[in-house]
Subunit: 246 residues, 2 copies
DNA sequence: GCTGGGAGAGGCTTA
DNA sequence: TAAGCCTTTCCCAGC
């Protein structure tokens, strides 16, 4: 395909912010937070209306090279067509040099729809906050998703001895990071309210190291058995697996 | 475009393991680790030779729906063409129902090349490990990427007073999570070696809250200003921004 | 080869 | 804009 003609089609697509697909033999170079080179080969480049730029090989879900929120330019060199994505902060550039173009086409994709995802963590939180007695008798929710100086807590509650309790909900197996997160929350809460606090982690599972760390921090873990339903998650049961250290 | 003809082209592409691009009005449904629905709209679906299946809207880098390593099937229904990706373990299904197909094309992308990446975190580590004196006089590397019971530390070193030091390198702005991570490492090291330990965070930047937490934990932060060179990364300078508490 | 586990990057959301 | 954090993740190490 003629490179001059390809350039025209590409530029029109960029101006109209259409989905652009370019297939051909190209060499790709990236400079920015890292640097990379991709030798010549046949690939598809997808450019989207919001400036997403992706180089796709015929394998893997993810593009081999990419840039988001970029400004895209097209330039004709002596022996190749240069398709380039630039970003200012941080300074990054992704250049594709096409030595031959097999295919260019742009699509006007009218699509108002957003994905509706079910069984998310937010849904779980809402369900749980409705009835914390599930976890422990006398546990009363104070505020859901209370915003503190650092981070956002899932649920804040009060137990029947008047202690303040932060509850962190995870929909997947909890790792070390989750325990550290809960620990930070608990410490904040302790300072803020100036009294003893507890931290409860609710998750379908936990890694062994995470459980050990949780012990050391004096936190509590409850196994939360839920089912991903449609349109809303359903909490199946709660199992007290490990209580506070001593 | 005729749905029957589209089906033929799609099936040929799947058998030949070519890169397949289908554009049209479709409804998408996912069931698996989570569940989602995407109402009717105009999108591009990319199917790759390795079974990667991606639904792209004209925005964002990542597909709105996807599945990797799937088996792809195509079926003609009464009013639509069904393009489906299935996986057995874990059991997942992604269905796209095309009510109209604007475009179908498959590409035979011959591409032997792999990406050559420079300036990765590993290279940074190697450079740093070669010369830790950069950070502080008398700092000697012991082991790089020492595998501990929990997590992997970037660099372990010894300072001129014989204290063991763990150095954590980050390529982007460090947040609360990085500080918690380093704190865990430091505590492990302390237990393991049974002596005083230090923790040093090297990153191009740090959030204010993270810096505060770092203080509380008695950790140290150094601003690392690195330049991505080619073919190897070069450390431009190191700025002692904040030292240990006191 | 499978799986457990840690680390990380894109994109969302709130302040 | 900045910061935190969630995820249909990804990769490595160990079995």
């Amino acid at each position: 395909m003629d490179l001059v003609k390809a350039k025209k089609e590409i530029e029109k697509a960029i101006i109209d912010k259409e989905l652009l697909s370019v297939v051909g033999e190209c060499y790709v170079e990236y400079q920015g937070r890292a640097a990379s080179k991709l030798g010549r080969g046949s690939r598809m480049i997808l450019v989207k209306g919001d400036g997403s730029f992706a180089v796709h090989q015929n394998k893997y879900l993810r593009p081999v090279n990419y840039m988001m929120n970029s400004s895209v330019y097209c330039k004709l060199n002596i022996d190749c067509l240069e398709l380039m994505a630039l970003k200012a902060k941080p300074k990054e550039s992704l250049k594709a040099l096409f030595y031959s173009v097999d295919f260019v086409k742009s699509f006007s994709l009218t699509d108002q729809q957003d994905l509706r995802l079910f069984g998310s963590e937010l849904e779980l939180q809402k369900l749980l906050a409705q009835d914390l007695e599930f976890i422990e008798k006398g546990l009363k929710p104070l505020k859901r998703e209370q915003s503190l100086r650092k981070g956002v807590m899932d649920i804040i509650a009060e137990d029947n001895q008047g202690r303040v309790v932060c509850v962190e909900v995870k929909r997947r197996k909890a790792g070390l990071d989750c325990v550290s997160q809960l620990h930070r929350y608990k410490e904040q809460l302790k300072k803020l309210k100036n009294k003893e606090s507890r931290g409860i982690l609710l998750a379908p599972d936990i890694t062994s190291h995470a459980l050990e760390l949780l012990h050391n921090y004096g936190l509590e873990y409850f196994k939360l058995d839920f089912q991903i339903g449609n349109p809303s998650a359903k909490i199946k049961g709660l199992e007290k697996k490990q209580t506070k250290l001593f």
